[in-house]
Amino acid sequence: MALIKEKFKETKRVFGEWNVGAYRWKAPKGYLDEFIKALGEKKILGTLCSGCGRIYVPPREFCSRCFRKIETKTIVSNFGTLLAFLVSPPLTKGKVLIAGIDAVESGWLKEGEEIILGIVNFDGTSSKLVLPVLNVKPTDVFVGMRVRAVFSEEPKGSLSDLIGVEPAEQVKF
């Protein structure tokens, strides 16, 4: 098919910028908000499905497997296992841009720090959380490490009241 393009070698560019606008979303009451309240008391909250016994963290309203609403909330263990981990290189300015803002320059992240992100499964739950692994050198972290949740001393009623996890006692020879 002979497209018109073959006749016109140069294409014209038309610019336009449209701000899509604001969306509204609704989150269920009694789930993440309860989770955050529990963090203030140095506890981790999950929901327990009475059909299959799965415990979801953070709390979930519907169990996909059983296709039913979950009614029970339960406190779960503060201890868990490190399933896997990631390590950032020593942070510098100009590398980590969040929504156009340099995270190191604005002080959110410290220059030179190496952040270890752990994929943590708290004992007895069927979910995992991605949390910073604290108080340990990157070279000492290993898969299967036992960890314990670290909470903020001055809870602000926010998600960051769960600061991360740190190595718990390793039971081995």
Binding site: R24, K26, F62, S64, K69
Partner: protein, 371 residues
């Protein structure tokens, strides 16, 4: 291989910012399964319908897998009116799968649906002038239609009156105005001449689900079914490139559906219809495209009273979109209303229609038959 609708459930249309979409979708899916007397394990495939732009989430179906019953099932989605998801489900049923669940939803409070229409416009020209959206485009088409065929505002208002009266009796409808009068409609606020508040559909929340099955499963399990006799779908050209005087693609889609179901004279052989008329004038154009009357004669059909709820060929006994437009779920509401009426013995054959896109660019038509 015939396909039948064996269960359905639709939530009452509403505008509720406290309702999460997970809850709505879960309620619809659970309700439809219960109506069919089946469990989630009996469903082979799930086709959901939702739109990223309306939900404000990329891959809007990804976080609804659990709620729509699609966990660890062969599933997919249609990103347009729910009736297209039904079409896809039928195609799946005619190959590997024996039962299917179709779920559709939109919560209109998430984002102004009329704003999305501006993003359906071509960004090189039409979007640049900031004059066009679905309402002003509807005004353009309504004016063209009214001038070419000498259709008056009152002719159009009569269609709106019929549907609003019907909607006031429908517990699932969103806009229910008891004792609505023609004057009220003709006095309602102008959005873009001649489109008024009461001659256009109000956007609302809706979630609906249907369960479909193949005839061998229906026989084995002795299920009650409303049969899908024929389906037709077609797409028109973009708004700028077509004749706005008729709904071309609806004519093509209806023709295909009629052929498949062996219908030669729709007005005689079909008992009633549920159509999606986002603007009241569209109902007249829909009559013409469905070959219920000649081109430009829609006004006579509406004035004759044939399409009233007690007429010979009732259209939109549920109130149609004048009673509520839940965008993606709209088509499924039309389908469910028609199926309900057939099961009640109101008629034997029904026509179900829905549209998608600016000025009904895409149209899809189903012909249903009771047992």
């Amino acid at each position: 291989m015939k396909i039948g609708i064996v269960g359905f459930y639709a939530l009452p249309q509403t505008y509720d910012v406290e309702m999460t979409r997970e809850k709505s979708v879960f309620a619809a899916a659970k309700g439809a399964l219960k109506d069919a007397g089946l469990e989630r394990e009996d469903i082979d495939t799930v086709v959901s319908a939702s739109s990223d732009f309306y939900d404000g989430r990329t891959i809007s179906s990804s976080m609804l897998i659990g709620a729509s019953g699609a966990y660890l099932k062969d599933e997919s989605k249609a990103e347009e009116d729910g009736l297209f998801a039904v079409l896809y489900a039928i195609q799946r049923l005619r190959t590997y799968h024996r039962t299917a669940l179709v779920v559709a939803h939109t919560h209109s409070w998430t984002f102004n649906p009329h704003k999305v229409s501006t993003f359906m416009l071509d960004p090189l020209f039409d979007r640049q002038n900031e004059l066009l959206n679905d309402v002003t485009l509807a005004a353009l088409q309504a004016n063209t239609y009214m001038h070419s065929y000498r259709v008056s505002e009152e002719d159009i208002a009569l269609a709106a009156l019929k549907n609003l009266e019907n909607a006031s009796r429908n517990p699932l409808a969103f806009r229910r105005i008891t004792g609505i009068t023609l004057d009220e409609i003709l006095d309602s606020e102008i959005y873009s001449t001649p489109i008024r508040e009461l001659t256009m559909a109000p956007c609302c929340d809706g979630a609906a689900a249907v369960v479909l099955a193949r005839e061998d499963v229906i026989e084995d399990l002795s299920l009650d079914a409303v049969w899908i006799e024929g389906v037709g779908a077609a797409t028109d050209s973009y708004i700028r490139d077509r004749d706005l005087l008729e709904m071309n693609s609806l004519g093509i889609a209806a023709k295909k559906a009629y052929e498949m179901s062996g219908i030669n004279n729709p007005l005689d052989e079909i008992d009633f219809a549920e159509v999606n008329e986002r603007f009241a004038y569209q109902e007249l154009m829909i009559y013409e495209a469905l070959k219920l009357c000649q081109k430009g004669r829609g006004k006579y059909l509406i004035r004759s009273g044939i399409t009233e709820r007690d007429g010979d060929f009732p259209v939109n006994i549920s109130g149609g979109s004048m009673g509520g437009d839940s965008i993606i779920a709209n088509g499924l509401y039309r389908l469910i209303e028609a199926a309900k009426l057939i099961k009640r013995g109101f008629g034997e054959k029904a026509l179900v229609h829905s549209q998608w896109g600016l000025l009904a660019q895409k149209n899809i038509v189903f012909v249903l038959r009771g047992e």
